[in-house]
Amino acid sequence: MANKTILEVQNLTKFFNTPGGQLHAVDGVSFKIEEGKTLGIVGESGCGKSTTGRTILKLLEPTGGKILFDGQDITGYSRKQMRPLRQEMQMVFQDPFSSLDPRQTVMQLISEPIIEHKLLKSKAEIEARTLELMETVGLAERYVNTYPHELDGGRRQRIGIARALAVRPKLIVCDEPVSALDVSIQAQILNLLKKLQKDLGLTYIFITHDLSVVKYFSDDIAVMYLGQMVEKAPSDILFQNPIHPYTKALLSAIPLPIVGGDKPKRQLIKGEITSPVNLPDECRFMKRCDCVQECCKNGNPQLREVEPNHFVACSCV
């Protein structure tokens, strides 16, 4: 595998101004992804994981920080400058029910990005490419003239993936791509995404709240809490040796489908995520943490490398 860094994000911030004060949706997130790898971003609702994904693609203007894609600093790029880059980076959305135009057929939906980016000229070529894409994502040719409402969630998500693939991107941000699907269909889509990565050398940012899905899917995992990364490590290390109290709590909160035997005891986490508006300068997880010490009140801890490639933001570690 090539070790070329395809995307680097440095100290990315995205604030929203609200009547109550500044909302820190993303607050100083940094990471790198190598080509062909998958970074999983996990966290609860409101932790800023989707905002991070959208800001990287510049669907939202970042407030601060730097986004380097393939070596270019795209942070200040205008919409026009971004346009050619849209072919390189794409997104797959969570809800296959609302992210597709209900008045377009499958053919129109999948060929839209090809036409929009003027990748192919003749009608015959466009049709051939659309059918090829449908085959790639496992949609039978007979659906070519159907509308989204005639299809189930899994097939709709396949259309979403085909649309993203149409421009031959290098990076795809998948924002909860399987959350709206049933387990048996979820497995089909996860297998498809994995196969595409192998065949086309795609790089993924995989945003989800479901730890079991990221574990299965990602090379590296970043755990987010209130706009910040609290722990970042290769997948295997994170699951074997979680260090941040929030990561531990998240892992132990997953209900395991095991009855009897060696079922681990659950460790509950108290309280709920606090408001990301006007945050004090202290550990953001402090109010829910079981092992708070004096040092937690002195400033917001930053990510530190505690063992090779394993970063944790906790003052107690």
Binding site: E44, S45, A187, L190, D236, A253, P255, R266, I269
Partner: protein, 336 residues
């Protein structure tokens, strides 16, 4: 034994009769729940889980829903034969329901205290003031400060709202609690808190529960008995140990194989191929046969009935393959 059953559903058949088609949502199911037992009803979208739950309260929207056949005994009384006055007394008092989405289950223009007090006032003949006092107690029980009884639903987070919904459901100490995907809309850490709370309250109040979910992890956490539903039929039922550790139905196996959390990274998931059949056009014989890796010609001839597994009193499976005594699932943990 039968007297101990809080809920006993016999051969329930529910159809939705629309202009275009006759949708066979529930096709003859038998389930029962004993005193202080929790039954998990598992299945995918469209399996008929929610329709089953609504039938228990005789709340299937009619039209288009029609309960075609069957009996539903709630502590010995047939719900389907009750008068509407009796049904009204029963709902909320003997049986209560928790819905999936706490955001839409609450009235946005009523304080949560009034909402909890409402059912108490109706069923226990208390004044509004007394009911409000009791509502405060209920809030405390589900872990919310009493002072918040004067707040409106929008002032609560998702997890807190679900606690309020639980408080409403438990306000009249029902015998049976029906929880329809109670934690699906919540974050994992909040889900863990709510499940823990439900487990505790059910034990304290000696209730029975029917938990409807698609999440096998939640079932393992909370339920003693499990019934797996597919295309309107129960395909396997038994104790949690029976179904999780000695599963027999190919669909149950497929559900477990689709779960990513048991797998190591890189290992391919084994999804169930294809899709659930259209309930208005079910295949003849076993509805799972077209997706089943073990299916034989025999499977599409007759609908398999639930049969005891190896003479077990608790564990039943509906699969024609077991007509051949040597048949075993590939991944069977029994190792047979």
């Amino acid at each position: 034994m039968a007297e101990d059953l809080v809920l006993d559903i016999k051969n329930l058949v529910v159809h939705y009769e629309t202009e275009d088609a006759d949708v066979h949502a529930v096709n003859g199911i038998d389930i029962s729940i004993g005193k202080k037992r929790t039954l998990g009803l598992v299945g995918e979208t469209g399996a008929g889980k929610t329709t089953t739950a609504l039938s228990i309260l005789n709340l299937v929207p009619n039209p288009p829903g029609v309960i075609k056949e069957g009996e539903i005994f709630l502590e010995g009384k047939d719900v389907l034969k009750m008068s509407s006055a009796d049904l009204e007394k029963m709902r909320g008092n003997d049986v209560a329901m928790i819905f999936q989405d706490p955001m839409t289950a609450l009235n946005p223009v009523m304080t949560v205290g009034d909402q909890i007090g409402e059912s108490i006032a109706i069923h226990q003949n208390l004044s509004k003031k007394e009911a409000f006092e009791k509502a405060k107690e209920m809030l405390k029980m589900v872990g919310i400060a009493e002072s918040r009884a004067y707040d409106y639903p929008h002032q609560f987070s998702g997890g807190m709202k679900q606690r309020v919904v639980i408080a409403i459901a438990l306000a009249c100490s029902p015998q049976l609690l029906i929880a329809d995907e109670p934690t699906t809309a919540l974050d994992v850490t909040i889900q863990a808190q709510v499940l823990e709370l439900m487990k505790m309250l059910i034990q304290e109040q000696e209730m029975s529960m029917l938990l409807i979910t698609h999440d096998l992890g939640v079932v393992a956490e909370v339920c003693e008995d499990v019934a797996v539903m597919y295309a309107g039929r129960i395909v396997e039922k038994g104790t949690a140990d029976d179904v999780f550790n000695h599963m027999r139905h190919p669909y149950t196996e497929g559900l477990f194989d689709s779960l990513p959390n048991l797998k190591q990274r890189g290992e391919e998931l084994v999804p169930i191929k294809g899709l659930m059949p259209d309930p208005s056009d079910l295949p003849p014989g076993c509805a799972f046969a077209p997706r089943c890796p073990y299916a034989t010609e025999e499977c599409s001839k007759a609908v398999p009935q639930l049969m005891p597994v190896d003479g077990s009193e608790t564990h039943f499976v509906a699969c024609s393959a077991y007509n051949h005594p040597e048949f075993r699932l590939r991944g069977n943990k029994d190792g047979k």
